[in-house]
Subunit: 359 residues, 4 copies
């Protein structure tokens, strides 16, 4: 801010400012530079959480913290170091590691916040969504869109951990959230291999005539690793054969979508899976909105504002709005990604800047 | 028309009418009853073609008629008996049986007319769509949306027949068609099991990041029988287990859709597959727009304006606009269906009347 | 068609063809060149009807032909010379001159066909649309979207004529039409200056909170000449002042739209008004779909496939699909235009070719 | 939260929690009740600001605070008492009173934040939006959608004040804002009665052919009081005549819309104007999202969670998410309203609860 245009101090000015304060008013001229920066200037910072740190803490929680009604979930939120007292991985998104011990049940509830789970390792838990039991296994991406009852239970004798993603910060900041308790147990303890949602909806290009109404969120409960892996492999094979299929040389990627519209799985959250061949580097880019990656397999690095961070299986990193980033694959490098891009696009705030064109 | 309002004959009136004729004019008052009936009064009639008649004629054509540039296709169109001189199965739709002998090639061309193929029996032909070879096998539904180059070749020593559906009548009546010759051969004689379009697009709920632009027509070249059959089976199983999945008791059905939008595969043609359990009867309905069915498997009947027609594998029948119809399944009854419903819906002319509620 | 690929005549072939005919079948190979031309090859022809011919014939009809239930309307349709026995100005559109004598009433009815009226001269008739009396005056564009009851009455002692545009041919060809009689008189003989639809909807940029549901067709009953004329004048003034406002130098134009969507007024019919400064020529273009113009004021010419036709106030001309056309303004040249463009665009058949770039 | 499910304190638990803190993690189980309440539980509070307080403070600022580059605007923001240190009237919206002295200029800039102005009294200022001078007068609603350059100048010898509304809090919280300086003066000091945007776009139901591309925000720079007042009057007159036109008995209302789509004027802000007849009370409702009213004329009250607040001309009040509210009109009661409803609807968080049905 240019001080030349600031008023000179005087008793009258001090009286004016006191009048402002007494009447719940604040001048724009003293704060515009902060409130309206030249480009996004997030308080959230880029940060990497190591799986080798996260998992032991989750395991220890399993020993010490009960799961049940009230606390609801044994979930440990990743709190962006720049966002002070809040458990927000970014201003809009929540990310947590959730842990369920052998034979445990997390009770049913529902909320208007949109939620997903992604499984970096393990199996044996079923999440029951509106009464439909959905198996959770390594590589699966699972949905619990807003206002669907859901609980989880571990059908095995070993614990299981996964990550949860939600729009809790956005919902909290903007006062949009509703919450309701359901059953203290899950309503169906059966353990089918495929959920009913998949049996109805997961046939490529085929839509049930009983499901012709478009839905706000995807009706698919689980996007299975088998399909994701196959889709990425096919893209790389097609590329090898000389056909357009990848987003960039050596870089396969899919977006999880709502089959009734072809659009994002939920109104506030985009989810994707990326596979880079060993040696591939992406271009450096800046985007409006925040994004989170979890390394699923392989080794590589993320370059955040010019600083290289090595990452490997399970590691999670957040990229706040307009922070420059690129990925580098040391081995074949598989990454799950989620972001608030649907918020940005639906409100027309999305912007992209490619900083170079290496790729 | 109420004759009370018709003008009395007189020399002056005859002079007036002569003036109309000389100047390319016609009065509404003498024709409104015909032009604007109380409800659709199609010239097209409901009609059944027997596969047992169609196939031998196609086979005989295979012996007598060459296939190549100029004639383009050995396709025999089903001409609605009510539509006089035109090879239209309905005012909007074309349906033909196409026959390709051992090792024959139908040369490449493209046209703005939208086309599909459906295979009631046989295998061994590949249709090459914009250079992508697409295997054709029993139960497969294959797309050639407008303005895509395509040719066919039979890779085997036995002949193969299938049905073609296009919007030729609509395009011809409304003067929208463009046509261009391509290669006299097909551009790729390889015979992969899966087309590149399937390898890129047929992963349930997954969209390639290289394909984020919505497309007017589906990018999927082939909807495989394996998936259709599985989807229908799952609907019936879910119904048995007590969950909503079918359109009516004992009636499973899917719509083939464009994965980029969840909507119809092409702008003018809807395609569906229906499976009725033995003994099931559908409600009787009337719809605006014309529809065509081909029996894929099983035995049953279609009731058209109260008249029952027995039909079996391969038989094709057309239901013109606002003709009442219902289906009756003697055995498990599988039917492929296509119609001009997207035209009706996009132009807001669609109407449905359920005549009873047996089902 | 290349005769080289046609089968040689033989008894067997003749038997085959007889089999086709007996079974309501026709080969594609003998007709593809006609059915699927290289570009639209309309049977409809470009044609000009002179107002100086039309109006006297309408007036004579007023003397000889009663108006009332059964004949419904004293409307004389313009029959495209290329379309044989049908009163179609094009394959999709109907255009008629309608004439109502002093104190006459055209009875109420409704139909699924979409209709509009445009008034090239005169005043004194009110069209009553679903009970809302709508004044008709020179330059006004008036809507009767599908399935709205409507009748007309002449409140004066002088006759009045105007043109009607409908999608009757499209509806008839595709069997989509429904029709119902209403009152034999109009339901409201009051003669307000503004219809209720205008009082509710004609406030620029303002939408009633009681009308937040989008409607298939525009809720506006009358688009007044005062607004059209002002909009066109402002475009030309802005152009003079150096600001972008016109579609081309000296060529102002507006589209009549549905205020709930910003799109076309009805699902099948586009309507526009064009004003060319004296001396202006438009580029030559070809478009898929058929279009009709009526000269509202001034003198000029239309060039159709290279042939120049002089036209003046009231003259009507039709341009079939893919016929090249341009306009030339001798004086300030005002033209009303309607077309089937929404059909073409909604079904993705629209194409445009600019033949030159004079403008 | 049910303490029964909270872990018991122990050295191990304290070590676990220290591990969380050291690694930027926080457990969900200790905070879920706060983060995910049963229904929105806004920190923002309902509050009324009196114009009789606001205006004198603005006037005093006019004496003491210069306007120019750096401070940019002499705008005093209304700071919700519940939102601590921030000048937010709600979590999403900014509202300020802006004051421009005789012959002063507020320099040009642009930002991605969407902005509008509403004029409760006065005249004489022109806001110049992308070079188009837009007159500001009592009752006018004026737009400056994101990324349009704009400055203001007072062309008279008397001061003028108005309110500004923007999505600054939403943009700041979510890191989406960009800002750029423009000219230190405005680029056009002319003072036309109508802006170019109005001359091109403010013709009811008419769309310029030069403007067929839909725009993210409305292209209209000013919605004039004359039109708003007329629209509201017509609704009440139509109601008197027995026709549906108002939202409830005695309650006329319009929404300001983007004429290219019929939707909201900007992606994040809805704006409406409401007129209640004397004596009318609205139903009590709760809505997700925050809304702000300014009384334009008349006297009445707003009931906020059961507490009645008398309000009159110029008074501004905010209703946070899910706070119950109703309006009571003592005299004819005119109110301008804006809200974040487009955010809620585009992200599918909108909910409405009618608490009674008095109206």
């Amino acid at each position: 801010m240019d001080d030349a245009t600031q008023p000179e101090d005087s008793p009258a000015l001090r009286e004016l400012y006191a009048g402002f304060e007494a009447n719940h008013l604040k001048p724009l001229w003293t704060q515009i530079g902060n409130l309206m920066p030249r480009h996004p200037h997030p308080r959230a910072v880029a940060h990497v959480w190591k799986w080798s740190t996260l998992y032991p803490l989750a395991k220890s929680s399993g020993d010490l913290v009960p799961v049940g009604r009230g606390g609801e979930r044994r979930a440990i939120g990743l709190a962006n170091p720049g966002l002070g007292g809040n458990t927000y991985i970014s201003p809009t998104m929540w990310c947590a590691i959730q842990y369920l011990g052998p034979r445990e049940t997390a009770p049913e509830h529902r909320h208007s916040q949109n939620a997903f789970r992604f499984v970096v390792e393990g199996e044996g838990v079923w999440t029951v969504v509106n009464g439909d039991p959905v198996r959770m296994s390594r590589g699966d991406f699972l949905l619990t869109p807003g206002w669907n009852f859901h609980g989880h239970h571990n059908d095995t004798d070993h614990p299981m951990a996964w990550i949860d993603g939600l729009d809790i910060p956005f919902s909290f900041q903007n006062d949009v959230g509703f919450f309701e308790y359901g059953s203290d147990r899950v309503t169906d303890y059966s353990t089918p291999n495929l959920s009913r949602s998949e049996r109805l909806w997961c046939h490529p290009g085929l839509r049930p005539l009983s499901g012709l109404q478009n839905t706000v969120s995807s009706p698919i409960g689980a996007y299975r690793w088998e399909h994701t892996d196959n889709a990425l492999n096919q893209q790389l094979l097609l590329e090898e054969e000389g056909h357009p299929a990848t987003v960039a040389q050596g870089h396969a990627a899919i977006r999880y979508v709502n089959p009734t519209t072809g659009g994002d799985v939920m109104p506030t959250i985009r989810a994707e899976f990326h596979r880079l061949r060993a040696g591939v580097e992406t271009v450096t880019r800046r985007e409006v909105g925040s994004t989170v990656f979890q390394v699923f397999e392989g080794k590589g690095a993320v370059v955040l504002e010019g600083t290289t961070h090595k990452v490997e299986k399970g590691d999670i990193f957040v990229i706040p709005s307009w922070v420059s980033w690129s990925l580098q694959a040391e081995t074949t490098f598989d990454l799950f990604r989620f972001s608030d891009a649907p918020i940005m696009e639906r409100l027309n705030f999305d912007r992209l800047k490619i900083e170079d064109d290496r790729q």
